[in-house]
């Protein structure tokens, strides 16, 4: 873990960031244990935010995404998505270093170099076909690697499902993003616009899945919460071989 601290200290971090990192170290250095079940003490407030998010989706995001999907042909949307992923790579690399994973950090650096040059500034993604596929990460995962537990379920306005740890991770990702320090204001604004377009593109591409959760479930809040928690734990390698396993033969009436 010391190597993490050293490499982390190489960057000039704002005081808030340093404090958060130290707190995370105090939380312990072993990966947090696999969580089970659902911890949702903020449910009443979360449900209000969920209803707000749903109405934003119905009235703004979903129609905009379908407008974008109709206006921009597939290859253009894909280019925007590639470009947005490429912009996220410096932050990913920083997090991989903080997680003590030099291998993926090197691979993502190679990916950044290939896609920025051969991939025409990131519009194309030749790196994936070279075996350097996108390996998404963030400060939420870094906190997980440092031993912080996921905490309670949280639904964030406009962002959607999250948990205590990933909320802190999101704040840190915004604070630490190397692009924020590297890009002048105009370019940073362009980068934000690209991220928004890419978000609309994903809302369009996964519209069947998202619509089925938001508009076809009997309880879209509970369904989104379950899907998020299970998928997030899976992403972090907290596989549910023992925890969430449902054996319908052992206890067919049990919960």
């Amino acid at each position: 873990m010391l190597s993490n601290l050293k490499s982390g200290a190489g960057f000039r971090l704002p005081r808030l960031a340093m404090t958060a990192i130290l707190l995370a170290f105090l939380a312990g250095c072993a990966t947090s244990p696999s969580p089970q079940g659902i911890s949702d003490p903020y449910e009443a407030r979360n449900r209000q935010i969920h209803n707000f998010n749903k109405s934003v989706d119905t009235n703004i995001v979903r129609p905009s995404a379908f407008g974008y999907g109709a206006a921009a042909p597939g290859p253009i949307r894909e280019g925007i998505q590639n470009f947005a992923l490429n912009l996220g790579l410096p932050a990913n690399i920083l997090n991989m270093v903080l997680q003590g994973r030099p291998g993926p950090a090197v691979e993502s650096t190679a990916r950044l170099l290939v896609n920025t040059t051969v991939g025409l500034g990131g519009l194309l993604d030749p790196a994936t076909s070279m075996g350097l596929a996108e390996d998404p990460t963030g400060f939420g995962e870094t906190l997980h690697v440092w031993g912080m537990a996921e905490g309670n379920y949280v639904e964030l306005p406009l962002v959607g499902p999250s948990n205590d740890r990933d909320v802190l991770g999101l704040v840190m990702d915004i604070a630490l993003d190397p692009l924020r320090f590297a890009l002048p204001t105009a370019e940073a604004n362009t980068s934000t616009a690209i991220q928004i377009l890419a978000g609309l593109g994903r809302r369009y591409r996964y519209s069947e899945t998202i619509d089925s959760i938001l508009y076809e479930s009997a309880d879209s809040y509970a369904q989104a919460r379950l899907l998020y928690l299970q998928n997030r734990r899976y992403e972090l390698g907290q596989t549910v071989e023992t925890g969430d396993f449902v054996d319908p033969y052992e206890d067919p009436y049990g919960q």
């Binding site: 379950l226 899907l227 549910v240 969430d244 396993f245 449902v246 319908p248 033969y249 052992e250 009436y253």
Partner: protein
């Protein structure tokens, strides 16, 4: 952390691996190997049948009927239905349970069958199968057009007397758990009335 093994831990793992390998060699080529192969074969068959229906060019309504037939043939529908309903099933009569199971089977086939378009031009490949506790897990990878490959796991059991799948886990998302949430929410909305739940499932 997985990559923080000390030399001793690595050594211990090596020894454990050697012991396991020796034990595996010493044991007769037993029932496990055969059953793993059968579990894998079952899912290979399901995937093949689903692909055949999707690429048949039949109308959506006709496909949904065929998906339901496949679901009945390859999945343990009564056990899935009962597990999804949970404790509410205890107070149900035998007639209600069988009507519910029938309604659930149609609801599942329509719900998942309607998503078939996403699979056109894609494929699912079975990559591995292994015994886990009292069941088998068949690991497959889905390659769909325009998305990165993703992990689909099938849980298979022969406790019904036949080898059937009872759960599907897509990138960690568990179908049984998801349907428990959904059917539980419908049941709550219907005031806990199973007959009304059945009516909703028939229309969904």
């Amino acid at each position: 952390m997985a990559n923080d093994f000390t030399r001793r831990q690595v050594l211990n793992l090596g020894v454990a691996g050697l012991v396991a390998a020796t034990a595996a060699l010493a044991l007769p080529r037993g029932a496990w190997a055969l059953d793993v192969g059968q579990a894998r074969g079952l899912i290979d068959e399901v995937v093949g049948e689903v692909n055949r229906v999707i690429n048949s060019g039949a109308s959506e309504a006709a496909m949904l009927v065929q998906f339901e037939a496949l679901f009945v043939r390859y999945a343990d529908v009564p056990v899935i239905a009962r597990s999804v309903l949970g404790p509410a099933g205890r107070s149900a009569s035998a007639g209600q349970m069988s009507a519910y199971s029938q309604a659930f089977q149609g609801y599942m086939s329509r719900k998942y069958g309607r998503r078939f378009r996403e699979f056109i031009g894609g494929r699912i490949e079975v990559v591995d199968a292994r015994p886990v506790k009292s069941y088998f897990e068949v690991v497959s990878t889905a390659f769909l057009k325009g998305s990165a490959p993703f992990d689909v796991r099938w849980q298979v059991s022969d406790k019904s007397g036949r080898l059937l799948f009872f759960n599907i886990i897509i990138e960690g998302v568990n179908m049984l758990a998801s349907e428990r949430t959904e059917v539980g929410a419908i049941l709550d909305q219907q005031g806990g009335d199973i007959d009304r739940l059945i009516a909703v499932l028939q229309q969904t």
